[in-house]
Symmetry: C2
Subunit: 728 residues, 2 copies
Amino acid sequence: MPLQIPQIPEKIPDIKPLRRADTLGLDDPATAYIAYNDKYIIVFDFSSLDVSEASKQLSALLSDLESVGLQTEIRVGYDESLLVFVQAPRELLGNTVHHSRVKDWLYGITKKHPGGNSNSIVAGDNEAEDLQSLYHLLTWSKELGGAGITPGFGKWENISSAFPLHNPIRNQKLLVHLSKKFFLSSDDLDQIRDLWGTKVAFYFAFIQDYFLSLAFPCVAGVLAWAFLPKYSLAFAVVICIWCTVFLEYWKIREVDLSIRWNVRGVGKLKVNRPQYRYEKEVVDAAGRVQQYFPRWKRIVRQLTVVPFLALSTIFLTIVIGTVFALETFIVEGYDGPYDYYLEYVPTVMLALLLPFINNWLEKLAARLTEYENHRTEDYYEMSLTQKIFVLQSISNYLPIFLTAFVYVPFGETFIPHLRTYILSLAGGAVDPNFAFHVDSNKLRNEVITLTVTGQVSSAIEELALPYLKTNARDWWRTWRTTHTFAMGGQTRFVRGDDPIEARFLRRVRKQAALAHYDVHEDISEMVLQFGYLALFSPVWPLIPIGFFVNNWFELRADIIKITIEHQRPAPIRNDGIGPWVASLEALTWLGSLTSAAIVHLFGFHNATVYGLNTWWTLPITIFASEHIFLGFRAGVRWALHAIGSEHIRKERSELYAERKKHLDELEASSAKRGHLDVVERERRKSVRMTASDVFWTRQVEEGASMRAGLGMIRALKGSDFDEPMKEE
Amino acid sequence: MPLQIPQIPEKIPDIKPLRRADTLGLDDPATAYIAYNDKYIIVFDFSSLDVSEASKQLSALLSDLESVGLQTEIRVGYDESLLVFVQAPRELLGNTVHHSRVKDWLYGITKKHPGGNSNSIVAGDNEAEDLQSLYHLLTWSKELGGAGITPGFGKWENISSAFPLHNPIRNQKLLVHLSKKFFLSSDDLDQIRDLWGTKVAFYFAFIQDYFLSLAFPCVAGVLAWAFLPKYSLAFAVVICIWCTVFLEYWKIREVDLSIRWNVRGVGKLKVNRPQYRYEKEVVDAAGRVQQYFPRWKRIVRQLTVVPFLALSTIFLTIVIGTVFALETFIVEGYDGPYDYYLEYVPTVMLALLLPFINNWLEKLAARLTEYENHRTEDYYEMSLTQKIFVLQSISNYLPIFLTAFVYVPFGETFIPHLRTYILSLAGGAVDPNFAFHVDSNKLRNEVITLTVTGQVSSAIEELALPYLKTNARDWWRTWRTTHTFAMGGQTRFVRGDDPIEARFLRRVRKQAALAHYDVHEDISEMVLQFGYLALFSPVWPLIPIGFFVNNWFELRADIIKITIEHQRPAPIRNDGIGPWVASLEALTWLGSLTSAAIVHLFGFHNATVYGLNTWWTLPITIFASEHIFLGFRAGVRWALHAIGSEHIRKERSELYAERKKHLDELEASSAKRGHLDVVERERRKSVRMTASDVFWTRQVEEGASMRAGLGMIRALKGSDFDEPMKEE
């Protein structure tokens, strides 16, 4: 793909007014305009170090920051920590931004050279761009021209976090703006991108599109609920179609947005993660030193995921299965003392157990992923989130699977036995004529509970709890800190913070104490929700409505969450939601199996009588539905592919516009061919003598070929030679 | 992706010795070196025209050729046709080659600008490249700088063909070379590319790799045949694995070759096919006029393929099914008079019928594809060949399907009824105690016959027959032509050809009479063969050996075929075997179903007793095997993707090498940052007075931050203030 040739302009392109301003301005609205694009906070926690070690590390940190030309101010943080305020001088920041733009151009991520030369100083188009460059200055290795600060890792394990400051005014604006709008336009997404970078923006783009497209299943759901039988096949089909179309649409949308935000293929630019261990350094064809770790080795290592997932699946199945069995038994079968209270025991148990188990498994997954030794942070995250997602889906969907495919169909058969067995264990009296009847609504109730309560509880978990928690901790720490200094006894610190900085520092300390924001958690929540739809839609057609309402709030709530309960995310670039698309596709596929099975078992056949007939036709139903789904998906893909993406076409024609310039110049020359031709004819005559050209010089004279040809035609047609030529 | 900036060199790059030489040289080995890179033959058949019309068209043709600067010589052809010899002057050809190279660069197909300017004259790297440019000069529309000659279409419907001349010496060399080698290296493929262009070369690359990879199923087959039971599951699995791995390998290989041959993504460059009908011309963003035909319309039109294929499938099923039933009946059931002869009637019937039916259906398919109105020849070919392929597979595989899944399992049941029924029709005596026993070897025999005879017959069809045919026709025509001129009576023509041209002209006339070569036919043959393996491998494990042997000859035979029985193909460029990969994948997928079913029916269960049990477990078997296959395929893809393609990596690092030049210059500047830093510090001091900078100027002095920080650490650690600083 050709690129515009970089012109070295006479003068450096003029620069936007830079955003240096009163750091304290926030406190008096008069000077409210304050720069957040060039500031970064590093939290140095030396509680585990003695004075000398701490000071060593601090001086190392400061000199590393100095070495790339960053400015520092130090203030005390909570407990035994220091806040190192980092600011990039306008020349340095502007220059870094320019460099990274040029680099984007060189790697073909943007199509136009930004102009300017290697000393150019430009202002980023938005805070995110500036902060990204600042982030690179801080975190990139020294070879890449960064300070090589890697919070919590290796040399810098005592740096508990490094984060940019929230921009409260713009956060405020954004929130107000979004809460007014029902639908988010791409421009609104741009605003999010400007604040927190594309990686986060893509999540909001996804939840927005997903939310909108939910309108369709909502309508379908209401209709199905009103007019269709329970466990309706038609509804299942509709949902399956919706899932497919939405996914294929999203894939195109992802490309469009990544072109809009100039991040398409940005993955290539990602640098090695500090934890990456390489075997040797090789100099490749292009003469660059590459840190080589054999691919096949990583592949082999990644294969360990298979046993891991297999085992943890089995484990979870056993745990959940047991609790499930117990519950069923107590609820349906047990009629001894305290049964009213006992009913809740298993559920409570599970509620208490699962978090621990999951947490433990996730730790294992993290270790495993670490062992896989991925080169970039991206790959690492992908690999990890995928593992975690599988674990989550198991603990989320398994109960429903058990109800649908074990409890309801087989309950009649095994529960009495179970009861007898347990009672015999308990040594209780077995009532021989105990009859048990499966509650065929259990499935529906279970799905409703799981989805609805899920939404609510997650909302509380995400918003209310952390809010209270942080505030409490915050209050306590403020008290402690001030207290410390009161007791500290050094004259220098008696008065604590300088009063004009106080409020600013309080804000920073608060943010320093906040958690790091991981966008994948929010995405996985949406994916799990999507999964309920894809897998169990026929059970209760009104599910989508709940989701629709929830997601409208979810979107806004997540923005609040980021602004209040998390440190401002470093504006990392990404060109999509990455591996989640694959997860969504897997769920849709699986859905074509499960919903078919559900319809088959609960829709076609009386849900309480299961003959052999039910069972041996089941695989056929599943098989059919799966292949109809696959066929349909292929169709949709083909069609959407044929229609193609508007942005891609736009991009192409932009490229073409540049090429055209070159082509024109080339085609201009084709005029000359005429004379080439004449020249050639002369040449041909001149060489007529040489035997080699005999053949090609017979009809060289003007019109000779024509006369010869005409003669032949006449001859072959046997028409009279002397008749006047009609065409003369 | 950045490209090297086109330097305008002082002097035009010096040119290889051009290949103009004695056209007649072929006849005396002394002057054997002759140029085929700049000659094209146009056959003008005016048998349907009267003299004046014919001469009009001829003059139009000649002037169009002149207009782009091509040289012409005319000689008589067979019957009422003229041979228009077209030759491109070296300046014109060299310049066109240069242009198309620049165009490749502009469209990002090659990474390096070829250098030179718009008047540069270069020699193609090989005949194919030159001929391709000549082909463009002839066929491209006038707007694109071609003569707009479209043989057999529109204005030029009387041009029966236009083709480059075969290069007998190099053909000879190639054949000898290949017949000596057992394995073809990429260099050998290069030779084919040099002669006939990438489109043909890719076919040979495919058959070569396919042939090699067949070695594995051969060995497996022998082992299975020796040690495994009939219809062995293990063997079916092995073959399925092999299919998958081979396909995934081939996909990477395709990319590698297309990079090696500089044709990656060459599809973008394809021009509109003359038959393309557009609705309106729109000027797009880049200001180019585009012939617009709404995408959705094409999609809708393409949907007509569904009913078409459905109907023709049904139709073929009925035809083949009937014949099949008749045959079975006569062979197994009928014992009336002449049964010995009658046995063969149905087979003969089918053999006579099928070609007609297929031919007719293929004509329909062609019409349909025409109606779909594809923009480029490529799309048209793809769409057509895919349709034809489906039809072919039906008539090839259906008989086996019928035997495997109808005749053998159900024969016992329905054949007696069939017999009774037909006899009752025939009014013959029904023998009540007639017992029929399925010949459970029928399936194996059928597969063997179909595959083996298929190979042999196709070999005859492709080689022997056409050879005889052309020679006969050729002899007859030569006689006729000379005869005509003897009778012609015009003094000018009495002597017929100029003796020194005679042999050359005979060769050209011969080639003019040959058929156009369609590479897709050869590919589809291979794909069908692959299909037998993928679908029915467990039936007879020795099949692959037959294929292995056949394909070694097939490869060479196809080269002979092209050189002797076809006009030299125009060197069209392609970056793969296109849609055939999809067909191969479809077959592999289908294979995971069919071979599972075969193993289930013939392997697990006694092939003559089919209980309900057999049937209701069948879908489960199929379902399982399919999903194992899909899982495995996903795994292979993931692994091969992770390993990646060597060429792609090479390409990337070449790109990088170019970028690096720019980057170096940019990174050089980062040295300056040090002083930026100093400057900044001065600035900060100077502005200390302004309130806004109070915060950021407190620790501006050298080491101030450090001292402050150390103080705080000490304070917080509560260690004595006056103790000497360890690190000083």
